[in-house]
Symmetry: C2
Subunit: 395 residues, 2 copies
């Protein structure tokens, strides 16, 4: 593998893009593949596209491709829906595996939608269920034999702090709990070995480090030995054993296929499948080494040149995902000023300036160039104008 693979992306001129952890950039070839899908598949094949163009198998086919990036065996990952829906599915399935327990354990560093979906599920179950949220560093100590499931996002969306997947999974399972990992900021960002972790369930999204495009579908992993036992709560027809028999009662399909729900978003799937070609010859160990080096360089440069910013990500690269965050009281305005100068990171309330460093299309020169501009903005208080101080809705 050679990194970076900047030549495989259509990046706008004059932009240093440090927000691939929110939305990855457009890989080359995606536009052409989607156009072909629209005209030669949908347009020309019409309803026949479902069979003739492989639309029906796409969610599993892409699942296998993503599986290779996260240490999941063939046939254990399927695409569909949004990450929030996949969290709900995984939680419902996991609770069903521990019917005598009532607690979902998570942490305050989890992405809020994961917590919200747990709250919604608990509201439905009406039987004394509880979502227990502790600080990230207290998760291990909070695992006991009342816990039905431990639900964690491996890499904290704000700070990049990374949980130890193997250790926490082992701890959860020793206490009899089911382990669910959210890999939103892991897949395509760090080395993940789901099979080795022995975790029962995992979910993730594909529009961040996997560059699948805005609203690209999510994925769900079920440990292969469990897939045939899970009771799907979102029991849609495409998870049925015989969807086109139109039987009156739900019978789950074999294996991971039962985690499908409704008709897959074929246009998004086409974009995603092409976007994943970037990964064909990427070795995740190489990528991880390059990512840690870029993050280390960024931290060193910012700390050397921008003393007003305080690192809130782990300094130790082995405890950090592929992003670096700094706290700064005027972080919102500074980020707007930075974006106006062509360095795109993002801001998370209350004061977090967040930068994704993705070695597929970011190199050391980009890092130094970005800090040049950041230092100039801070040294000269260029953020201190009404244009940048006025909060707009931040995505």
């Amino acid at each position: 593998m050679s990194l970076p693979k900047k030549h495989l992306f259509d990046l706008p001129d004059g932009i240093i893009y440090l927000d691939g952890n929110s939305l990855g950039p457009l890989p080359k070839g995606v536009t052409e593949v989607v156009q072909e899908m629209l005209t030669a598949q949908w347009g020309a094949q019409l309803i026949k596209g479902w069979n003739a163009c492989g639309w029906m198998e796409q969610p599993s086919r892409i699942g296998t491709t993503i599986g290779r990036l996260i240490g999941a065996p063939e046939g254990s990952v399927v695409l569909g829906d949004t990450l929030s829906i996949k969290v709900f599915q995984a939680l419902a399935a996991g609770l069903n595996m521990r019917p005598e327990r009532r607690v979902i354990l998570s942490d305050s560093g989890n992405f809020p939608s994961d917590l919200y979906m747990a709250q919604g599920l608990i509201g439905l179950k009406q039987a004394g269920y509880e979502l227990r949220v502790v600080a990230p560093q207290e998760v291990g100590a909070a695992i006991d034999d009342t816990i039905a499931m431990v639900m964690l996002t491996q890499v904290d969306y704000r700070t990049g702090r990374m949980h130890d997947m193997a250790t926490l999974t082992k701890q959860a399972q020793s206490a009899g709990a089911v382990m669910l990992w959210d890999l939103a900021h892991s897949a395509g960002a760090i080395e993940v070995d789901l099979a080795a972790s022995n975790a029962e369930l995992a979910v993730g999204c594909t529009y961040k480090y996997l560059n699948g495009g805005p609203g690209a579908p999510a994925f769900i992993y079920v440990r292969p030995d469990l897939a045939d036992q899970l009771a799907p709560a979102l029991s849609g027809w495409l998870g049925h054993d015989a969807p086109f028999a139109f039987e009156p009662d739900y019978r789950p399909a074999a294996g991971i296929e039962r985690m499908r729900v409704g008709t897959p978003p074929v246009i998004q799937m086409a974009a995603l499948e092409q976007a994943l070609c970037v990964w064909d010859d990427v070795d995740m160990a190489d990528l991880r080494a390059a990512s840690v080096a870029l993050c280390d360089l960024f931290i060193a440069e910012v700390e050397r040149r921008c003393p007003d910013l305080t690192l809130i990500s782990p300094r130790d690269g082995t405890k950090r995902g592929s992003q670096v965050s700094f706290a700064f009281a005027h972080g919102y305005a500074a980020m707007q000023a930075l974006i106006a100068r062509g360095v795109i990171g993002d801001f998370r309330a209350p004061d977090v300036m967040r930068f994704g460093l993705t070695p597929l299309y970011i190199d050391a020169a980009d890092v130094v160039g970005a800090v040049d501009i950041l230092a100039d903005i801070l040294d000269n208080r260029l953020w201190d104008t009404p244009e940048f101080r006025t909060p707009k809705r931040v995505t």
Copy 2:
């Protein structure tokens, strides 16, 4: 309005497409709009697209457009997810409105996924809930004061039989039940006046008569006076009152926005929004009249020339959607033979040959041309070859 609008679609040469009730054809302009979305929006704007390109408002904006076609006021419809997920959301919300009741009433003509999703929800609630399924003609008599919700698909996917929305809604509500309509085969096919019906909830899909493309997102309607009271079970971050405040607890957004869940499929949304432009000057009363006339013509021609086929759709156009179905013992093989000759309908087990007649792009000449070929196939038993008799997977 002038019908048909065949010039607004990219239909393949030599094809008579009578399956727009499964997947509508490609409207002109969609490919160009999607290409622009990929390059000028995602590619050039990157993460800024969420604000700069209106991606965040798209689900509500498209909801308003679709609302005009189904008699729903502005701000009462939102797009997202799949129809199965929207059915689940609507069922969970409706059951929550009648906490003292335990029965969901539906009919055997409903699309199976709607029934499956109800089964999945009931499995979660663990409190004596029941899905009661009766024959379509027995729904009225089965409504009593044990029923929490009545869930019906207005137009039967197999036969085209149409429920009387106003009457059944009134009957359900008189018995204290919440009414949920699935408009999968109604939206864009017939006149629907949701507001006049007074129904609490409705859902539908956009890849059939609305031509949004394979896997286009679904929609959900909530009667405006109820929207602020509903408790969303699929409580995702984009249905939160302040998604970007990243609060630990879910607080539903005002109105229909709370029925959003996760990140919307922006590429699919772009295709759908362009596809809906076809409807700009369509009067639904004109469309309905044209649809009934086409279906009547098709029935008359088939009955005159194909005596082996038995009509299973209502003969009375006022009791039928925009499709016509015939039973034929060799229906599977006959449909394959028909498709091979360029007339695309579809088959539904065990013996249903189904034809969608959509006046936007089908005219009387198409109907006569299709029956010419059908009659030839039947008269000469052209279906009776191994090629067509061998069942393949049917979508």
